[in-house]
Protein backbone atom coordinates (compact mmCIF):
# COMPACT_ATOMS: atom_id res chain seq x y z
CA UNK A 1 0.00 0.00 0.00
CA UNK A 2 1.12 3.50 -0.79
CA UNK A 3 2.86 5.30 2.12
CA UNK A 4 0.60 8.32 1.64
CA UNK A 5 -2.55 6.19 1.84
CA UNK A 6 -1.30 4.55 5.05
CA UNK A 7 -0.76 8.00 6.56
CA UNK A 8 -4.20 9.24 5.52
CA UNK A 9 -5.85 6.05 6.84
CA UNK A 10 -4.02 6.40 10.17
CA UNK A 11 -5.01 10.05 10.37
CA UNK A 12 -8.65 9.11 9.72
CA UNK A 13 -8.47 6.56 12.58
CA UNK A 14 -6.94 9.16 14.92
CA UNK A 15 -9.63 11.72 14.03
CA UNK A 16 -12.36 9.10 14.54
CA UNK A 17 -10.98 8.36 18.01
CA UNK A 18 -10.67 12.07 18.75
CA UNK A 19 -14.32 12.56 17.82
CA UNK A 20 -15.43 9.44 19.68
CA UNK A 21 -14.05 10.51 23.06
CA UNK A 22 -16.07 13.76 23.38
CA UNK A 23 -19.07 11.98 21.83
CA UNK A 24 -18.81 9.33 24.55
CA UNK A 25 -18.54 12.10 27.16
CA UNK A 26 -21.68 13.76 25.79
CA UNK A 27 -23.51 10.45 25.97
CA UNK A 28 -22.36 9.95 29.55
CA UNK A 29 -23.30 13.50 30.53
CA UNK A 30 -26.76 13.20 28.97
CA UNK A 31 -27.30 9.84 30.63
CA UNK A 32 -26.43 11.20 34.06
CA UNK A 33 -28.56 14.33 33.57
CA UNK A 34 -31.54 12.28 32.37
CA UNK A 35 -31.31 9.20 34.58
CA UNK A 36 -29.20 10.31 37.54
CA UNK A 37 -30.56 10.76 41.04
CA UNK A 38 -30.27 14.23 42.58
CA UNK A 39 -28.18 14.80 45.70
CA UNK A 40 -27.80 18.13 47.45
CA UNK A 41 -24.42 18.79 49.08
CA UNK A 42 -23.61 21.77 51.27
CA UNK A 43 -20.84 23.89 49.67
CA UNK A 44 -17.66 25.61 50.81
CA UNK A 45 -15.73 28.27 48.65
CA UNK A 46 -12.60 29.41 46.42
CA UNK A 47 -11.79 30.56 42.73
CA UNK A 48 -9.16 30.74 39.93
CA UNK A 49 -9.34 31.05 36.10
CA UNK A 50 -8.69 28.09 33.87
CA UNK A 51 -7.47 29.36 30.47
CA UNK A 52 -8.42 26.18 28.72
CA UNK A 53 -11.89 25.80 30.16
CA UNK A 54 -13.15 29.39 30.54
CA UNK A 55 -14.52 30.75 33.78
CA UNK A 56 -15.63 28.68 36.68
CA UNK A 57 -16.47 28.97 40.30
CA UNK A 58 -14.31 26.71 42.36
CA UNK A 59 -16.44 25.00 44.93
CA UNK A 60 -15.88 22.50 47.66
CA UNK A 61 -18.26 20.08 49.23
CA UNK A 62 -18.40 20.91 52.92
CA UNK A 63 -18.65 17.35 54.09
CA UNK A 64 -15.74 16.08 51.96
CA UNK A 65 -15.25 13.11 54.23
CA UNK A 66 -16.73 9.86 55.39
CA UNK A 67 -17.55 9.75 59.11
CA UNK A 68 -15.75 6.86 60.82
CA UNK A 69 -15.47 5.81 64.42
CA UNK A 70 -12.25 7.16 66.03
CA UNK A 71 -10.82 3.69 66.68
CA UNK A 72 -11.20 2.60 63.04
CA UNK A 73 -8.03 1.65 61.16
CA UNK A 74 -8.29 2.38 57.45
CA UNK A 75 -5.93 0.61 55.06
CA UNK A 76 -6.44 3.05 52.17
CA UNK A 77 -3.40 4.93 50.88
CA UNK A 78 -3.36 8.63 50.15
CA UNK A 79 -4.42 9.29 46.54
CA UNK A 80 -5.84 5.79 46.12
CA UNK A 81 -8.99 5.62 43.95
CA UNK A 82 -12.00 4.46 45.99
CA UNK A 83 -15.78 4.33 45.75
CA UNK A 84 -17.72 6.57 48.14
CA UNK A 85 -21.38 5.70 48.80
CA UNK A 86 -23.80 8.62 49.03
CA UNK A 87 -26.72 8.93 51.43
CA UNK A 88 -29.12 11.67 52.54
CA UNK A 89 -29.40 12.85 56.15
CA UNK A 90 -32.67 13.72 57.90
CA UNK A 91 -32.53 17.30 56.48
CA UNK A 92 -32.29 16.00 52.91
CA UNK A 93 -28.63 16.96 52.56
CA UNK A 94 -26.26 14.42 51.06
CA UNK A 95 -23.11 13.04 52.66
CA UNK A 96 -20.58 10.33 51.95
CA UNK A 97 -21.39 7.28 53.96
CA UNK A 98 -18.93 4.53 53.21
CA UNK A 99 -15.66 3.80 51.40
CA UNK A 100 -14.71 0.71 49.46
CA UNK A 101 -12.24 -0.49 46.85
CA UNK A 102 -14.96 -2.33 44.98
CA UNK A 103 -18.18 -1.01 43.45
CA UNK A 104 -20.85 -0.88 46.20
CA UNK A 105 -23.69 -3.33 45.60
CA UNK A 106 -26.46 -1.00 46.76
CA UNK A 107 -27.19 2.67 46.45
CA UNK A 108 -25.44 5.48 44.60
CA UNK A 109 -21.73 6.09 44.73
CA UNK A 110 -18.98 8.17 43.12
CA UNK A 111 -15.36 7.44 42.31
CA UNK A 112 -13.06 9.66 44.42
CA UNK A 113 -9.54 9.56 45.82
CA UNK A 114 -8.80 8.89 49.47
CA UNK A 115 -6.89 11.76 51.07
CA UNK A 116 -6.18 11.06 54.75
CA UNK A 117 -7.72 9.79 57.97
CA UNK A 118 -8.00 12.12 60.94
CA UNK A 119 -9.74 10.93 64.13
CA UNK A 120 -13.42 10.39 63.16
CA UNK A 121 -13.17 11.52 59.52
CA UNK A 122 -11.74 9.90 56.39
CA UNK A 123 -11.12 12.85 54.03
CA UNK A 124 -11.59 12.54 50.27
CA UNK A 125 -10.25 14.25 47.14
CA UNK A 126 -13.42 14.93 45.16
CA UNK A 127 -13.02 15.54 41.39
CA UNK A 128 -16.28 17.52 40.84
CA UNK A 129 -15.18 20.81 42.32
CA UNK A 130 -15.61 23.31 39.50
CA UNK A 131 -18.84 24.91 38.34
CA UNK A 132 -18.43 26.49 34.89
CA UNK A 133 -20.26 29.69 34.08
CA UNK A 134 -20.42 32.53 31.61
CA UNK A 135 -17.15 34.42 32.07
CA UNK A 136 -19.11 37.65 32.64
CA UNK A 137 -21.30 36.08 35.29
CA UNK A 138 -18.64 34.02 37.05
CA UNK A 139 -16.99 36.88 39.01
CA UNK A 140 -20.40 37.91 40.34
CA UNK A 141 -21.16 34.29 41.13
CA UNK A 142 -17.92 34.01 43.07
CA UNK A 143 -18.82 37.09 45.10
CA UNK A 144 -22.31 35.78 45.83
CA UNK A 145 -21.04 32.30 46.74
CA UNK A 146 -18.23 33.67 48.90
CA UNK A 147 -20.57 35.98 50.79
CA UNK A 148 -23.14 33.26 51.24
CA UNK A 149 -20.54 30.86 52.56
CA UNK A 150 -18.43 33.17 54.68
CA UNK A 151 -21.20 35.26 56.22
CA UNK A 152 -23.54 32.28 56.48
CA UNK A 153 -26.38 34.63 55.57
CA UNK A 154 -27.68 32.58 52.67
CA UNK A 155 -27.59 28.88 51.99
CA UNK A 156 -25.30 27.63 49.21
CA UNK A 157 -25.63 24.06 48.03
CA UNK A 158 -24.40 21.95 45.13
CA UNK A 159 -27.01 20.03 43.16
CA UNK A 160 -25.32 16.87 41.96
CA UNK A 161 -26.73 14.20 39.69
CA UNK A 162 -25.28 10.74 40.15
CA UNK A 163 -25.63 7.75 37.87
CA UNK A 164 -23.43 4.68 38.18
CA UNK A 165 -20.00 6.05 39.19
CA UNK A 166 -20.41 9.38 37.37
CA UNK A 167 -21.42 12.62 38.99
CA UNK A 168 -22.38 15.83 37.21
CA UNK A 169 -22.88 19.18 38.91
CA UNK A 170 -26.31 20.20 37.66
CA UNK A 171 -26.44 23.52 39.44
CA UNK A 172 -25.29 25.69 42.26
CA UNK A 173 -28.20 26.89 44.40
CA UNK A 174 -28.28 30.03 46.53
CA UNK A 175 -31.29 30.01 48.84
CA UNK A 176 -32.70 27.21 46.68
CA UNK A 177 -32.49 29.40 43.53
CA UNK A 178 -30.17 28.40 40.63
CA UNK A 179 -27.18 30.74 40.77
CA UNK A 180 -27.67 32.17 37.25
CA UNK A 181 -31.27 33.12 38.06
CA UNK A 182 -30.24 34.42 41.47
CA UNK A 183 -27.63 36.77 39.89
CA UNK A 184 -30.01 37.90 37.12
CA UNK A 185 -32.66 38.66 39.77
CA UNK A 186 -30.08 40.63 41.73
CA UNK A 187 -29.06 42.59 38.63
CA UNK A 188 -32.69 43.26 37.68
CA UNK A 189 -33.52 44.55 41.13
CA UNK A 190 -30.29 46.61 41.05
CA UNK A 191 -29.66 45.37 44.51
CA UNK A 192 -26.18 43.98 44.96
CA UNK A 193 -26.64 41.94 48.05
Amino acid sequence: MNYKIIKITLFAIVIAAMLAVPAFMINKGEEVLNKGRIYIFKAAPVDPYDYFRGRYVNIRIEKNYVPVSPDTTLDFKSNEAVYASIKNDKDGLAYFDNLSRTVPENGDYVKVNFSYHDKDKAYLLIPFNQFFMNEKMAPEAERVVREALLKRRDSCVIKLRVHNDTAVIEDLLINNTPIRKYILDLQKSGNKK
Binding site: K4, K7, I8, L10, F11, A12, I13, V14, I15, A17, M18, L19, V21, P22, M25, I26, K28, G29, E30, V32, L33, Y51, F52, R53, G54, R55, Y56, D75, F76, K77, S78, N79, E80, A81, F114, P127, F128, N129, Q130, F131, F132, M133, N134, E135, M137, T166, A167, V168, I169, E170, R180
Partner: protein
Protein backbone atom coordinates in the same frame (compact mmCIF):
# COMPACT_ATOMS: atom_id res chain seq x y z
CA UNK B 1 33.20 19.26 14.23
CA UNK B 2 30.08 18.05 12.42
CA UNK B 3 30.22 15.55 9.54
CA UNK B 4 29.49 18.33 7.07
CA UNK B 5 32.32 20.49 8.40
CA UNK B 6 34.75 17.53 8.26
CA UNK B 7 33.84 16.84 4.64
CA UNK B 8 34.06 20.53 3.75
CA UNK B 9 37.54 20.61 5.27
CA UNK B 10 38.61 17.53 3.32
CA UNK B 11 37.23 18.92 0.06
CA UNK B 12 39.15 22.12 0.72
CA UNK B 13 42.36 20.11 1.15
CA UNK B 14 41.96 18.17 -2.13
CA UNK B 15 43.26 20.92 -4.48
CA UNK B 16 46.30 21.38 -2.19
CA UNK B 17 47.01 17.65 -2.17
CA UNK B 18 46.55 17.57 -5.94
CA UNK B 19 48.88 20.52 -6.42
CA UNK B 20 51.57 18.95 -4.23
CA UNK B 21 51.30 15.75 -6.21
CA UNK B 22 50.19 13.66 -3.24
CA UNK B 23 46.96 12.79 -5.02
CA UNK B 24 46.52 12.25 -8.73
CA UNK B 25 43.92 14.44 -10.48
CA UNK B 26 41.79 11.36 -11.09
CA UNK B 27 41.85 10.27 -7.47
CA UNK B 28 41.14 13.79 -6.25
CA UNK B 29 38.13 14.02 -8.56
CA UNK B 30 36.87 10.61 -7.42
CA UNK B 31 37.22 11.62 -3.76
CA UNK B 32 35.52 14.93 -4.49
CA UNK B 33 32.63 13.20 -6.22
CA UNK B 34 32.22 10.61 -3.44
CA UNK B 35 32.29 13.07 -0.52
CA UNK B 36 30.00 15.55 -2.31
CA UNK B 37 27.46 12.74 -2.63
CA UNK B 38 27.51 11.80 1.07
CA UNK B 39 27.76 15.32 2.48
CA UNK B 40 24.82 16.01 4.83
CA UNK B 41 22.60 18.89 3.69
CA UNK B 42 23.26 22.33 5.15
CA UNK B 43 20.90 23.31 7.97
CA UNK B 44 18.22 25.37 6.27
CA UNK B 45 17.46 28.15 8.73
CA UNK B 46 14.93 29.76 6.43
CA UNK B 47 12.92 26.54 6.42
CA UNK B 48 13.28 26.37 10.19
CA UNK B 49 11.94 29.91 10.58
CA UNK B 50 8.97 29.10 8.33
CA UNK B 51 8.34 25.94 10.36
CA UNK B 52 8.55 27.89 13.64
CA UNK B 53 6.02 30.45 12.49
CA UNK B 54 3.82 27.65 11.15
CA UNK B 55 3.81 26.09 14.61
CA UNK B 56 3.22 29.45 16.27
CA UNK B 57 0.31 30.35 13.97
CA UNK B 58 -1.29 26.93 14.46
CA UNK B 59 -0.97 27.28 18.22
CA UNK B 60 -2.40 30.81 18.18
CA UNK B 61 -5.31 29.92 15.89
CA UNK B 62 -6.06 26.84 18.01
CA UNK B 63 -5.91 28.79 21.27
CA UNK B 64 -8.07 31.57 19.79
CA UNK B 65 -10.81 29.19 18.64
CA UNK B 66 -10.71 27.45 22.01
CA UNK B 67 -11.09 30.73 23.89
CA UNK B 68 -13.98 31.88 21.68
CA UNK B 69 -15.83 28.62 22.19
CA UNK B 70 -14.88 28.49 25.86
CA UNK B 71 -17.00 31.60 26.37
CA UNK B 72 -19.67 29.33 27.84
CA UNK B 73 -22.59 31.26 26.45
CA UNK B 74 -25.54 30.59 28.71
CA UNK B 75 -28.11 31.52 26.10
CA UNK B 76 -27.00 28.78 23.69
CA UNK B 77 -28.69 25.41 24.37
CA UNK B 78 -26.49 22.69 25.81
CA UNK B 79 -26.72 20.44 22.73
CA UNK B 80 -25.58 23.21 20.39
CA UNK B 81 -22.72 24.16 22.71
CA UNK B 82 -21.68 20.50 22.75
CA UNK B 83 -21.81 20.42 18.95
CA UNK B 84 -19.68 23.57 18.72
CA UNK B 85 -16.93 21.84 20.66
CA UNK B 86 -16.35 19.66 17.59
CA UNK B 87 -15.85 22.58 15.16
CA UNK B 88 -12.09 23.16 15.78
CA UNK B 89 -11.44 19.42 15.56
CA UNK B 90 -13.36 19.08 12.28
CA UNK B 91 -11.54 22.10 10.82
CA UNK B 92 -8.19 20.65 11.93
CA UNK B 93 -9.15 17.28 10.43
CA UNK B 94 -9.87 18.96 7.10
CA UNK B 95 -6.61 20.89 7.23
CA UNK B 96 -4.64 17.77 8.18
CA UNK B 97 -6.30 15.67 5.48
CA UNK B 98 -5.54 18.31 2.86
CA UNK B 99 -1.91 18.54 4.02
CA UNK B 100 -1.44 14.78 3.75
CA UNK B 101 -3.27 14.43 0.44
CA UNK B 102 -1.29 17.18 -1.21
CA UNK B 103 1.98 16.12 0.41
CA UNK B 104 2.60 19.64 1.74
CA UNK B 105 5.90 20.75 3.31
CA UNK B 106 7.21 20.69 6.88
CA UNK B 107 5.54 23.94 8.00
CA UNK B 108 2.12 22.65 6.89
CA UNK B 109 2.72 19.28 8.51
CA UNK B 110 3.74 20.86 11.82
CA UNK B 111 0.78 23.24 11.78
CA UNK B 112 -1.71 20.49 10.94
CA UNK B 113 -0.42 18.17 13.67
CA UNK B 114 -0.39 20.85 16.37
CA UNK B 115 -3.79 22.22 15.38
CA UNK B 116 -5.30 18.72 15.48
CA UNK B 117 -3.73 17.91 18.86
CA UNK B 118 -4.91 21.19 20.41
CA UNK B 119 -8.39 20.87 18.90
CA UNK B 120 -8.74 17.41 20.41
CA UNK B 121 -7.79 18.80 23.83
CA UNK B 122 -10.29 21.62 23.34
CA UNK B 123 -13.11 19.25 22.41
CA UNK B 124 -12.59 17.15 25.56
CA UNK B 125 -12.25 20.20 27.82
CA UNK B 126 -15.27 21.97 26.35
CA UNK B 127 -17.54 18.95 26.67
CA UNK B 128 -16.31 18.48 30.21
CA UNK B 129 -17.20 22.13 30.85
CA UNK B 130 -20.58 22.02 29.12
CA UNK B 131 -21.71 18.97 31.09
CA UNK B 132 -19.90 19.98 34.31
CA UNK B 133 -18.29 16.52 34.26
CA UNK B 134 -15.37 17.51 36.46
CA UNK B 135 -12.40 15.15 36.42
CA UNK B 136 -8.71 15.64 37.07
CA UNK B 137 -5.89 17.08 34.96
CA UNK B 138 -4.18 13.70 35.18
CA UNK B 139 -7.13 11.85 33.62
CA UNK B 140 -7.54 14.52 30.96
CA UNK B 141 -3.85 14.36 29.92
CA UNK B 142 -3.92 10.56 29.92
CA UNK B 143 -6.73 10.36 27.36
CA UNK B 144 -5.38 13.27 25.32
CA UNK B 145 -1.86 11.82 25.00
CA UNK B 146 -3.23 8.47 23.86
CA UNK B 147 -5.33 10.27 21.25
CA UNK B 148 -2.67 12.51 19.74
CA UNK B 149 0.66 10.64 19.99
CA UNK B 150 0.18 9.09 16.53
CA UNK B 151 0.18 12.59 15.00
CA UNK B 152 3.93 12.71 15.77
CA UNK B 153 4.42 9.79 13.38
CA UNK B 154 1.81 10.75 10.78
CA UNK B 155 3.07 14.32 10.32
CA UNK B 156 6.68 13.73 11.47
CA UNK B 157 6.03 16.64 13.81
CA UNK B 158 8.71 17.87 16.20
CA UNK B 159 6.31 20.45 17.64
CA UNK B 160 3.77 17.78 18.57
CA UNK B 161 6.56 15.73 20.13
CA UNK B 162 7.45 18.72 22.28
CA UNK B 163 3.80 19.11 23.36
CA UNK B 164 3.73 15.36 24.12
CA UNK B 165 6.90 15.59 26.25
CA UNK B 166 5.45 18.51 28.23
CA UNK B 167 2.08 16.77 28.65
CA UNK B 168 3.77 13.55 29.81
CA UNK B 169 5.90 15.45 32.33
CA UNK B 170 2.83 17.23 33.75
CA UNK B 171 0.96 13.90 33.86
CA UNK B 172 3.88 12.23 35.61
CA UNK B 173 4.00 14.96 38.24
CA UNK B 174 0.23 14.68 38.71
CA UNK B 175 0.15 10.93 39.17
CA UNK B 176 1.98 11.15 42.44
CA UNK B 177 2.71 13.91 44.96
CA UNK B 178 4.85 14.24 48.03
CA UNK B 179 1.88 13.59 50.31
CA UNK B 180 0.67 10.46 48.56
CA UNK B 181 1.47 7.11 50.04
CA UNK B 182 -0.17 5.36 47.13
CA UNK B 183 1.25 5.10 43.63
CA UNK B 184 -1.15 3.52 41.19
CA UNK B 185 0.30 0.35 39.69
CA UNK B 186 -1.40 0.88 36.34
CA UNK B 187 -0.13 4.50 36.21
CA UNK B 188 3.41 3.21 36.62
CA UNK B 189 2.99 0.83 33.70
CA UNK B 190 1.33 3.52 31.61
CA UNK B 191 4.26 5.86 32.29
CA UNK B 192 6.59 3.27 30.78
CA UNK B 193 4.22 2.86 27.83
CA UNK B 194 4.04 6.62 27.26
CA UNK B 195 7.83 6.81 27.16
CA UNK B 196 7.96 3.96 24.65
CA UNK B 197 5.32 5.40 22.29
CA UNK B 198 7.42 8.06 20.49
CA UNK B 199 10.72 6.12 20.73
CA UNK B 200 10.64 4.65 17.24
CA UNK B 201 10.00 8.06 15.71
CA UNK B 202 12.94 9.49 17.66
CA UNK B 203 15.26 6.69 16.54
CA UNK B 204 14.29 7.16 12.87
CA UNK B 205 14.88 10.91 13.05
CA UNK B 206 18.20 10.52 14.85
CA UNK B 207 19.38 8.07 12.21
CA UNK B 208 18.40 10.41 9.39
CA UNK B 209 20.63 13.27 10.60
CA UNK B 210 22.35 12.41 13.89
CA UNK B 211 24.01 15.80 14.29
CA UNK B 212 21.49 17.99 12.52
CA UNK B 213 19.52 20.82 14.04
CA UNK B 214 16.44 18.65 14.66
CA UNK B 215 18.48 16.00 16.49
CA UNK B 216 20.10 18.70 18.62
CA UNK B 217 16.66 20.01 19.56
CA UNK B 218 15.56 16.48 20.46
CA UNK B 219 18.63 16.12 22.66
CA UNK B 220 17.59 19.19 24.61
CA UNK B 221 14.04 17.90 25.00
CA UNK B 222 15.29 14.44 26.02
CA UNK B 223 17.79 15.84 28.55
CA UNK B 224 15.29 18.16 30.23
CA UNK B 225 12.54 15.52 30.06
CA UNK B 226 14.78 12.78 31.52
CA UNK B 227 16.05 14.89 34.39
CA UNK B 228 12.63 16.33 35.27
CA UNK B 229 10.80 13.03 35.05
CA UNK B 230 13.50 11.16 36.94
CA UNK B 231 12.35 13.03 40.03
CA UNK B 232 9.09 11.08 39.77
CA UNK B 233 10.14 8.10 37.68
CA UNK B 234 10.98 6.04 40.73
CA UNK B 235 7.98 7.16 42.77
CA UNK B 236 7.20 4.41 45.21
CA UNK B 237 10.51 2.57 45.02
CA UNK B 238 12.91 1.88 47.80
CA UNK B 239 15.91 3.92 48.75
CA UNK B 240 18.52 1.61 47.22
CA UNK B 241 16.74 1.47 43.90
CA UNK B 242 16.48 5.25 43.75
CA UNK B 243 20.24 5.62 44.43
CA UNK B 244 21.11 3.08 41.76
CA UNK B 245 18.62 4.57 39.30
CA UNK B 246 20.11 8.06 39.55
CA UNK B 247 23.68 6.78 39.22
CA UNK B 248 22.71 4.83 36.08
CA UNK B 249 20.64 7.56 34.42
CA UNK B 250 23.39 10.17 34.95
CA UNK B 251 26.06 7.80 33.62
CA UNK B 252 23.87 7.01 30.58
CA UNK B 253 23.36 10.73 29.87
CA UNK B 254 27.12 11.28 30.18
CA UNK B 255 28.09 8.34 27.95
CA UNK B 256 25.46 9.16 25.32
CA UNK B 257 26.79 12.72 25.31
CA UNK B 258 30.37 11.49 24.98
CA UNK B 259 29.33 9.30 22.05
CA UNK B 260 27.59 12.24 20.36
CA UNK B 261 30.61 14.47 20.89
CA UNK B 262 32.94 11.90 19.34
CA UNK B 263 30.59 11.83 16.33
CA UNK B 264 30.98 15.57 15.85
CA UNK B 265 28.21 17.21 17.91
CA UNK B 266 29.08 20.68 19.17
CA UNK B 267 28.52 21.98 22.71
CA UNK B 268 25.06 23.49 22.06
CA UNK B 269 23.93 20.43 20.15
CA UNK B 270 24.87 18.09 22.96
CA UNK B 271 23.32 18.95 26.35
CA UNK B 272 23.59 15.27 27.36
CA UNK B 273 27.31 15.48 28.12
CA UNK B 274 27.39 18.56 30.41
CA UNK B 275 24.17 17.57 32.20
CA UNK B 276 25.55 14.05 32.80
CA UNK B 277 28.92 15.39 33.97
CA UNK B 278 27.40 18.00 36.30
CA UNK B 279 24.89 15.44 37.57
CA UNK B 280 27.62 12.88 38.33
CA UNK B 281 29.65 15.53 40.18
CA UNK B 282 26.66 16.57 42.30
CA UNK B 283 25.75 12.93 42.98
CA UNK B 284 29.33 12.11 44.02
CA UNK B 285 29.50 15.16 46.26
CA UNK B 286 26.30 14.17 48.05
CA UNK B 287 27.35 10.51 48.19
CA UNK B 288 30.62 11.46 49.89
CA UNK B 289 28.64 12.19 53.06
CA UNK B 290 28.30 9.00 55.07
CA UNK B 291 24.70 9.89 56.04
CA UNK B 292 23.72 9.35 52.43
CA UNK B 293 24.44 5.65 52.80
CA UNK B 294 22.51 5.08 56.00
CA UNK B 295 19.74 3.00 54.56
CA UNK B 296 16.35 4.65 54.89
CA UNK B 297 13.54 2.38 53.77
CA UNK B 298 11.45 4.69 51.65
CA UNK B 299 8.39 6.24 53.22
CA UNK B 300 6.64 5.40 49.98
CA UNK B 301 7.48 1.73 49.89
CA UNK B 302 4.73 0.82 52.29
CA UNK B 303 3.85 -2.82 52.58
CA UNK B 304 0.89 -3.04 50.20
CA UNK B 305 2.89 -2.13 47.13
CA UNK B 306 6.31 -3.44 48.01
CA UNK B 307 6.20 -6.50 45.77
CA UNK B 308 5.32 -4.75 42.58
CA UNK B 309 7.56 -1.81 43.45
CA UNK B 310 10.55 -4.05 43.96
CA UNK B 311 9.85 -5.96 40.80
CA UNK B 312 9.08 -2.97 38.60
CA UNK B 313 11.93 -0.95 40.05
CA UNK B 314 14.43 -3.66 39.15
CA UNK B 315 12.98 -3.93 35.64
CA UNK B 316 13.51 -0.17 35.14
CA UNK B 317 17.02 -0.39 36.58
CA UNK B 318 17.72 -3.44 34.39
CA UNK B 319 16.73 -1.59 31.20
CA UNK B 320 18.75 1.51 32.03
CA UNK B 321 21.61 -0.73 33.20
CA UNK B 322 21.63 -2.50 29.83
CA UNK B 323 21.78 0.86 28.03
CA UNK B 324 24.64 1.88 30.32
CA UNK B 325 26.58 -1.34 29.60
CA UNK B 326 26.08 -0.93 25.87
CA UNK B 327 27.37 2.63 25.92
CA UNK B 328 30.21 1.70 28.28
CA UNK B 329 31.46 -0.94 25.87
CA UNK B 330 31.47 1.66 23.06
CA UNK B 331 33.46 4.18 25.12
CA UNK B 332 35.63 1.68 27.02
CA UNK B 333 38.94 2.86 25.50
CA UNK B 334 38.62 6.45 26.73
CA UNK B 335 40.23 6.59 30.21
CA UNK B 336 38.97 10.04 31.08
CA UNK B 337 35.35 9.18 30.20
CA UNK B 338 35.59 5.88 32.02
CA UNK B 339 35.94 7.48 35.46
CA UNK B 340 32.57 9.30 35.47
CA UNK B 341 30.91 6.45 33.57
CA UNK B 342 31.80 3.94 36.29
CA UNK B 343 29.64 5.72 38.88
CA UNK B 344 26.96 2.96 39.02
CA UNK B 345 29.61 0.36 39.89
CA UNK B 346 30.82 2.48 42.77
CA UNK B 347 27.29 2.79 44.09
CA UNK B 348 27.15 -0.99 44.28
CA UNK B 349 30.00 -1.15 46.84
CA UNK B 350 28.11 0.52 49.70
CA UNK B 351 24.73 -0.79 48.48
CA UNK B 352 25.73 -4.45 48.29
CA UNK B 353 28.84 -4.83 50.42
CA UNK B 354 29.59 -2.24 53.05
CA UNK B 355 27.18 0.72 53.58
CA UNK B 356 29.43 2.29 56.24
CA UNK B 357 32.21 2.74 53.67
CA UNK B 358 30.01 4.66 51.21
CA UNK B 359 31.31 8.11 52.15
CA UNK B 360 34.96 7.02 51.94
CA UNK B 361 34.41 5.30 48.59
CA UNK B 362 33.15 8.55 47.10
CA UNK B 363 35.94 10.58 48.76
CA UNK B 364 38.39 8.31 46.96
CA UNK B 365 36.35 8.51 43.77
CA UNK B 366 36.46 12.33 43.71
CA UNK B 367 40.20 12.24 44.51
CA UNK B 368 40.94 9.74 41.76
CA UNK B 369 38.76 11.57 39.23
CA UNK B 370 40.52 14.86 40.04
CA UNK B 371 43.97 13.32 39.58
CA UNK B 372 43.03 11.48 36.36
CA UNK B 373 41.50 14.61 34.83
CA UNK B 374 44.53 16.75 35.72
CA UNK B 375 46.99 14.14 34.45
CA UNK B 376 45.03 13.75 31.22
CA UNK B 377 44.79 17.52 30.78
CA UNK B 378 48.56 17.95 31.13
CA UNK B 379 49.26 15.02 28.84
CA UNK B 380 46.89 16.15 26.09
CA UNK B 381 47.37 19.90 26.57
CA UNK B 382 43.73 20.47 27.57
CA UNK B 383 43.30 23.34 30.00
CA UNK B 384 39.61 22.58 30.54
CA UNK B 385 40.36 19.07 31.84
CA UNK B 386 43.08 20.38 34.17
CA UNK B 387 40.62 22.85 35.65
CA UNK B 388 37.94 20.16 35.88
CA UNK B 389 40.41 17.99 37.81
CA UNK B 390 41.33 20.85 40.11
CA UNK B 391 37.66 21.66 40.64
CA UNK B 392 36.99 18.07 41.76
CA UNK B 393 39.93 18.14 44.20
CA UNK B 394 38.84 21.52 45.57
CA UNK B 395 35.27 20.26 45.91
CA UNK B 396 36.52 17.29 47.91
CA UNK B 397 38.57 19.53 50.19
CA UNK B 398 35.68 21.94 50.61
CA UNK B 399 33.18 19.18 51.44
CA UNK B 400 35.46 17.58 54.02
CA UNK B 401 36.17 20.92 55.68
CA UNK B 402 32.44 21.68 55.81
CA UNK B 403 32.19 18.38 57.67
CA UNK B 404 35.07 19.05 60.03
CA UNK B 405 33.92 22.23 61.76
CA UNK B 406 37.27 23.91 61.03
CA UNK B 407 37.92 27.44 62.32
CA UNK B 408 36.55 30.20 60.04
CA UNK B 409 40.00 31.86 59.72
CA UNK B 410 41.57 28.61 58.58
CA UNK B 411 38.74 28.05 56.13
CA UNK B 412 39.31 31.53 54.70
CA UNK B 413 43.03 30.81 54.28
CA UNK B 414 42.20 27.52 52.62
CA UNK B 415 39.93 29.19 50.05
CA UNK B 416 42.64 31.76 49.27
CA UNK B 417 45.13 28.93 48.88
CA UNK B 418 42.81 27.09 46.51
CA UNK B 419 42.25 30.25 44.45
CA UNK B 420 46.01 30.84 44.20
CA UNK B 421 46.52 27.20 43.26
CA UNK B 422 43.99 27.51 40.39
CA UNK B 423 45.71 30.64 39.15
CA UNK B 424 49.25 29.28 39.38
CA UNK B 425 48.40 25.96 37.72
CA UNK B 426 46.60 27.75 34.87
CA UNK B 427 49.52 30.12 34.29
CA UNK B 428 52.08 27.27 34.37
CA UNK B 429 49.95 25.07 32.12
CA UNK B 430 49.32 27.88 29.60
CA UNK B 431 53.06 28.62 29.40
CA UNK B 432 53.88 24.94 29.05
CA UNK B 433 51.28 24.43 26.32
CA UNK B 434 52.46 27.50 24.40
CA UNK B 435 56.03 26.29 24.59
CA UNK B 436 55.04 22.82 23.38
CA UNK B 437 52.99 24.35 20.54
CA UNK B 438 55.99 26.46 19.50
CA UNK B 439 58.29 23.44 19.57
CA UNK B 440 55.81 21.44 17.50
CA UNK B 441 55.62 24.20 14.91
CA UNK B 442 59.41 24.49 14.77
CA UNK B 443 59.71 20.73 14.30
CA UNK B 444 57.10 21.03 11.50
CA UNK B 445 54.65 18.60 13.09
Amino acid sequence: MSDRKKIEWLLGELPVLKEKGILSGENADALNKYYQSIMPPKANFQQLVIMFFGILSAALIGAGIILIIACNWDDIPRHIRAGMAFIPLLLAAGFGGYTLRRGKGAAWQESAAILTALSSAAAIALISQTYQLGGTLKDFLFVWMLLFFLLIYIFNSAGTFLIYAVALTVWNFNRWDMFSTHVSRSDTYFFALFIALPLWWLIVNFRKAPYGLKSSLFCWVITIFTLLNSIHAMAGYNDLQIKLYWALILAVLFLAGALRRSGGAGFWGNPLLPSGAVGITIYSAIASFSDFWNYHPSYYSSADNIMYKEYYGWVVIGIIGAAWLLLLVKRWNNEVELIPALLPLLVLIPVLIFPAAGGYVFDLYLLLAGIVFMRYGFKKYELFKINAGMFLLSLLLFLRFVDSGLDILLRGCLFILLGVMFLVVNIIASKKFKKAEKERKEAGI
